[in-house]
Symmetry: C2
Subunit: 451 residues, 2 copies
């Protein structure tokens, strides 16, 4: 039976299985979901065994388990290591989900659930592609290893040391990752760059108690005034980060790269419309793909303080908080960037307010040369299934572990994504377009056969 | 029995009764507390009857009931109308309360509960002073009327029309209000000015969904960036409001007023220490009492948007919100001030962000001449009990209804407060110092006898 027919025949079963997995709320950031993390890892191990993979193991870590497996019956053929993650982002604001995040629902050819595209849904394709080949042909045309973690959304604290400790066992000719997107429907893309990441929590404290705005208003510092002017000082009016030295290590966009970006022929107007925006916004002099692919950014992810209820409360809040993440490019050093932001914040905090800062993640940006054979074969596989050759792009997101994998295992990372840019990852109503579920299975089969 | 002995003998009963009342969570701003509002009003009516007051009535309004009562058995003597409110502020952040806000607790001579000082505790003094005189002497030396509302903390929407409709019934020679503070322990004060108030809710919207900061960061507007720069634009670095025309109608502080303020001999150092602040903060060129007594202010009471949970969430939020209140002085027109702020916000909102604004309260500032006989007698009563004559102050807070009472009933408002400035009204751990509970009872008895 050809693979198209095989996947068609098994489609219902595959989706039912994936829904089971998506129903487990494996939110790595929230400690109350620890038992769900274990359930999600065990579910995964079961399915790897069922697919025909061998040496399926759950490795305890200080955080959430790492799952490994292999199938090494193609001597003389290349080895591919599949990486993915079974953890997902938090789900709030919950009221903005049309259907609950952990009750997977198919509507209009899309599978809605937290993790549908990032990354359970995409990782699931590899398991089912492998299962299909083994079932149809009795064996795989290459050697396969899998290394799946449950801490990607909290910046993979356990994986680097695990890789170091197991680098011989995990030795490979390529790391295969599906955790990125097509450019747009029908237009596959292979990411040859990922931005780095660093994060910071900011707290501002003023008086030792909330105060009445009548008795004290105008005469004491207000933590909210302090934090909004502090945070506003981080960007200029053109959206450029004003932190001194923030852009150190950011490479200029070369004429060649400009050309590559232009080739994408990205439709900014369409993006603007789909997001319901009057205008896109960002650093002057750069296009959207340049801003998100080749420029660093500093984003406020959360700000809060004072009264958030119904009605009026005439209070002067004693504290206010913010969460910041930066996406980094080129040689920007995340630790150095954090130090520079902290210096900026200490310099700009208003009199009478105290500052508490807490470091979070730190990951460097990653880049790979698109002429690598493993990448060129991936582009061929896409072309076979999608009828159009994959473009080589720079992805704005961060998968901090990609740089580590590539460095520790000395192997190229092949980022073969099947998501779409508008699938609301990290947001309410995350979903996975089933057209790419179907084509993804075929593309992976094709790729493994080409190697 | 002298009144000191009487109040000493009845102290336990009085405090037990007050605690009962404070245990009712009569938060007027939150609709789920509607039944508690009725319970609090009914409790009050019971106690008014028990005190010997007559014609106790609950008047339905579109919001919460108004309670009235009287005792008119002193022909030829002046009439005093006591005003107060039985509603309280919301209580969040709940985790900052040492004991729960609606489980009244006495510690170190202070009664802790939401409403302990604002205003149930202070209003309660009038009921018990009246009860004491009737019990001890069989009658009152003046005619008394009471008009108590349950909507003070939401700006008294029902009371103005109630006053207009009942102005003959409520006719009085003075309106007596205990909803303000001593200057500091042992230093009584009579407020001769209250600031006006206006409020505004601000919402900023960007994309139609939350977005991933990797895929979109740097290329789309972030509602949090938009709101922090917008809110930061409302003040300059010296804490002065930058809204064009905001200070229209604000009178200069006259040399005489400067003298009055100086007489207060206010200890800024002590305030700074008690609030745990490195420095006070406000408009250049003004002292703390001038800033809060004679200058308008614009305060952020709440700001929120995006992720507030544990860990990191790399999200670009689609919306952000803020609550603003202004305290007004002199001839500032609250409606006009709101229009000017709105114009400022519309002018300063960044490209790609949409603004939604919602008006709230609007109340003018109030002022009275301290030479009024009703005020001078109040100062005498304080002197008798506290051993020191009350100073005439300008209060930074707003009791919007005072201006209305004074205008509709054509009577002076006597603001005889028994709170202290550090009693955390509108904040966690609100409390009422029992020294002023005891002295307040005696001061009110003394005042009623002097009239």
């Amino acid at each position: 039976m050809n693979y198209e027919t095989y996947f068609q025949n098994n489609r219902e079963r595959h989706l039912a299985e994936l829904k089971e997995w998506l129903a487990i709320p494996s939110i790595s950031a929230l400690s109350e979901h620890k038992p769900d993390m274990i359930r999600a890892a065990e579910w995964l191990a079961e399915k790897l065994k069922a697919a025909g993979l061998e040496h399926v193991e759950l490795h305890e870590t200080e955080g959430h388990p790492i799952v490994t497996a292999d199938y090494l019956h193609a001597p003389g053929k290349p080895t591919v290591l599949v990486y993915g993650h079974y953890d997902v982002q938090p789900v709030d604001p919950l009221n903005l989900w049309t259907t609950p995040p952990f009750e997977p629902d198919i509507r209009d050819g899309k599978l809605y659930a937290r993790g549908a595209t990032d990354d359970k849904g995409q990782l699931f394709l590899h398991i089912k592609a492998i299962e299909a080949i083994i079932k149809q042909e009795g064996s795989l045309p290459v050697n396969i290893k899998l290394c799946i973690e449950g801490e990607e959304e909290i910046s993979s604290p356990s994986l680097p040391s695990f890789l170091e400790a197991n680098k011989d066992k995990l030795a490979t000719d390529a790391v295969l990752i599906s955790d990125t997107s097509l450019l747009e429907p029908g237009k596959p893309a292979i990411s040859t760059g990922l931005r780095g990441l660093c994060s910071l929590e900011v707290s501002v404290f003023t008086a030792n108690t909330d105060l009445h705005s009548g008795t004290y208003g105008g005469g004491v510092p207000n933590a909210l005034h302090a934090i909004v002017s502090l945070l506003a000082s981080l960007h200029d009016e053109q959206g450029r980060v004003t932190v001194e030295g923030f852009y150190d290590g950011v490479p200029d966009i070369s004429p060649l790269m400009k050309e590559e970006f232009a080739k994408l022929n990205f439709n900014e107007e369409q993006l603007r419309n789909s997001l319901g925006l009057e205008t896109l916004y960002g650093e002057e002099g750069f296009s959207f793909v340049e801003r998100t692919g080749a420029r660093p950014t500093l984003e406020l992810n959360g700000v809060w303080g004072g009264f958030q209820g119904e009605g009026t409360k005439t209070v002067i809040p004693k504290e206010a908080h913010a969460k910041i993440t930066c996406r980094l490019v080129g040689d920007q050093d995340p630790a150095d960037v954090l130090e520079k932001i902290k210096a900026h914040l200490h310099k700009h905090i208003q009199p009478g307010a105290k500052l508490t800062l807490k470091d979070g993640e730190k990951a460097r940006a990653f880049n790979i040369d698109p002429s690598d054979r493993m990448l060129q074969l991936a582009a061929d596989a896409y072309e076979e299934v999608y009828g159009t050759r994959a473009l080589f792009t720079k992805d704005g997101g961060s998968i901090p572990i990609v740089e580590t994998f590539s460095r520790v295992l000395q192997a190229p990372a092949v980022m073969m994504g099947f998501g779409l840019p508008d699938e609301n990852l990290h947001a309410p109503n995350e979903h996975f377009n089933l057209e790419n579920f179907d084509k993804g299975l075929l593309t992976i089969v094709s790729y493994l056969k080409k190697l």
